[in-house]
């Protein structure tokens, strides 16, 4: 488990770069990560759903106990966000003043580095959210 699998990341890269979710044509609910059938009603009538790039922070935490591969980034801020019809958990970034990190503040998506496979390995990128201050 030391390194990420390149092929796993390759398969999900679009989802992590765009937060591409799915919206159900039967019950009307959107979800992320994308499934083959709706996690709420089971319907397979789904269409792609791309959330807006801006949304609200619902709640956040600051994670100190990470795996070794994240030690350079410790502590990691993690938030539950509402982006249009999607609710997602994402890492937060660009936190310069923790006091301003309150539930309800506006956030926007930015592409950032998640982790790298050692000094000479691949660098994995994906979306994080930052506060709009």
């Amino acid at each position: 488990m030391a390194k990420l699998s390149i092929s796993i990341f390759w398969r999900v890269r679009k989802h992590l770069y765009t937060l591409e979710g799915r919206k159900c044509l039967e019950c009307g609910r959107a979800h992320f990560p994308p499934k083959n059938s709706c996690p709420y009603c089971g319907s397979t009538k789904l269409v792609e759903y791309y959330p807006p790039k801006k949304g609200k922070l619902l709640v956040w935490t600051k994670l100190y106990e990470t795996c070794d591969d994240r030690s350079a980034y410790r502590p990691i801020y993690i938030g539950l966000l509402q982006l249009g019809e999607l609710r997602v958990v994402l890492p937060l970034t660009d936190i310069y003043d923790e006091g301003k990190l309150k539930p309800g503040i506006d956030v926007e998506l930015v592409l950032r580095r998640y982790v790298e496979d050692s000094d000479t390995g691949l660098i994995y990128y994906g979306l994080k959210a930052r506060p709009i201050l």
């Binding site: 796993i8 989802h15 994670l63 106990e65 795996c67 999607l86 958990v89 998640y114």
Partner: protein, 379 residues
């Protein structure tokens, strides 16, 4: 209708057993259970272990134990189902007995974390979230429980001090539990002074690394040593991804599993006098109890502050000390929960006794991936 009897218990002390292998721990708990049952003619072994494949690289664990325990050969199963691996194994054992395929099933729960440093163990625990998304992002199970803890405290107008009471009571409960990992008391101040793991979850809300094994013998026939029955059990899947839950503070599969179990036994929830609940990062206790419908929403920590849920109360909760006091042995925890409910119901071999007929063991895998519930009745 076939009854399912519990006739033997094995409860190894939870500790860092550097000198013993995973298989040795499983065998020791097994022999203790079989000796206490006085029954060695088993036809099935079900082993619950969450990390034996990832950490010890033993995916044929049940066969490895069977080699030494019953060399002639028997039915073997390995169960891996997150934090409810143990309760799931008991549920499957009950199903095998009720179907007539098995007569005497030895259910063993075992896990061992001390073979590796904490950072490696943390990586394995990422397998309990959807690794292809949250794992890659670095979102751990602790951080998801922390989000829930923040939401819970804010919704019910509670603070960190209120949450700190949970591990304090758990440590108190564990003081006289023979197999508990920590038999020392802590204070609210100790909890609030411990470092954050993921705010508001602190080190003293979390379990320590632990090794252990527990075993129970389930049978289709009543023996002299029989002390309880498995009255009902159920396992229900939920949502692996935290954000898919309609209400992050309501663990829907727990509600469904408890309802089903009560219905199976035609039992009023008010007759349950003892609960062993999987209280991950402290907040897991209130979340699961309130999702079960047994404690009203927002009431768990308030009642704990009033001194409720202790030995002798109408419902005693986690007399074992939960994941903080007794310890958290990953996939083995569910088997410990069952053995503990039986021990506390019967006052088994020096264990304190809660005078009630019915006990419930409740657990979840991940935060809401799967729930398992087992109802035990004293004989």
């Amino acid at each position: 209708m076939t009854s399912v009897y519990i006739s033997g218990l094995g409860l190894l002390p939870i500790d860092r057993h550097y000198d013993k292998s995973l298989t040795q721990l499983a065998l020791e708990a097994s022999r203790e259970a079989l000796d206490s049952a006085g029954e060695y003619d088993i036809d099935t072994i079900i082993i619950a272990s969450n990390y034996s494949t990832l950490l010890q690289r033993l995916s044929m664990l049940a066969s490895l134990v069977a080699e030494e325990l019953v060399p002639k050969g028997l039915q073997v199963f390995n169960v891996e189902n997150g934090g409810v691996s143990g309760l799931t194994a008991v549920h499957l054992a009950r199903a095998l007995i009720k179907s007539g395929l098995s007569r005497n099933v030895l259910v063993i729960g075992v896990d061992k974390q001390s073979d590796y440093p904490q950072s490696i163990v943390n990586q394995t625990s990422l397998t309990q979230v959807n690794y292809e998304y949250h794992g890659i992002m670095g979102v751990s199970l602790a951080s998801l429980y922390a989000l829930s803890a923040s939401l819970y405290l804010s919704k019910h107008q509670l603070n960190e001090e209120d949450l700190a009471l949970w591990p304090v009571v758990m440590h108190e409960n564990a003081v006289d539990v023979p197999h508990a990992q920590f038999k020392s008391k802590i204070t609210v101040q100790n909890v609030l002074q411990s470092d954050y793991i993921s705010a508001p979850i602190r080190v003293l809300h979390a379990h320590a690394q632990a090794d252990g094994a527990s075993a129970v013998l389930l049978s289709s026939n009543k023996k002299e040593s029989t002390i309880a029955t498995v009255e009902a059990s159920h396992v229900v899947s939920g949502k692996v991804e935290y954000e898919l839950n309609e209400d992050p503070l309501h663990i829907e599969p727990v509600e469904k599993a408890v309802k089903t179990v009560l219905m199976q036994a035609s039992l009023d929830k008010n007759l349950i006098g003892l609960i062993e609940v999987l209280d991950m990062y402290s907040i897991g206790g209130p979340l699961l109890l309130e999702s079960s419908g047994i404690i009203p929403k927002g009431e768990t920590l308030k009642r704990l502050k009033e001194g409720r849920f202790k030995l002798g109360d109408s419902v005693a909760i986690n007399l074992s000390g939960g994941i903080k006091g007794r310890g958290f042995v990953e996939g083995a925890t569910g088997v410990y929960q069952i053995a503990e409910t039986v021990a506390f119901l019967s006052g088994y071999r020096g264990y304190k006794q809660q005078y009630t007929d019915y006990a419930l063991a409740i657990g979840v895998g991940g935060l809401s991936s799967v729930a398992a519930v087992v109802l035990v009745k004293r004989i």
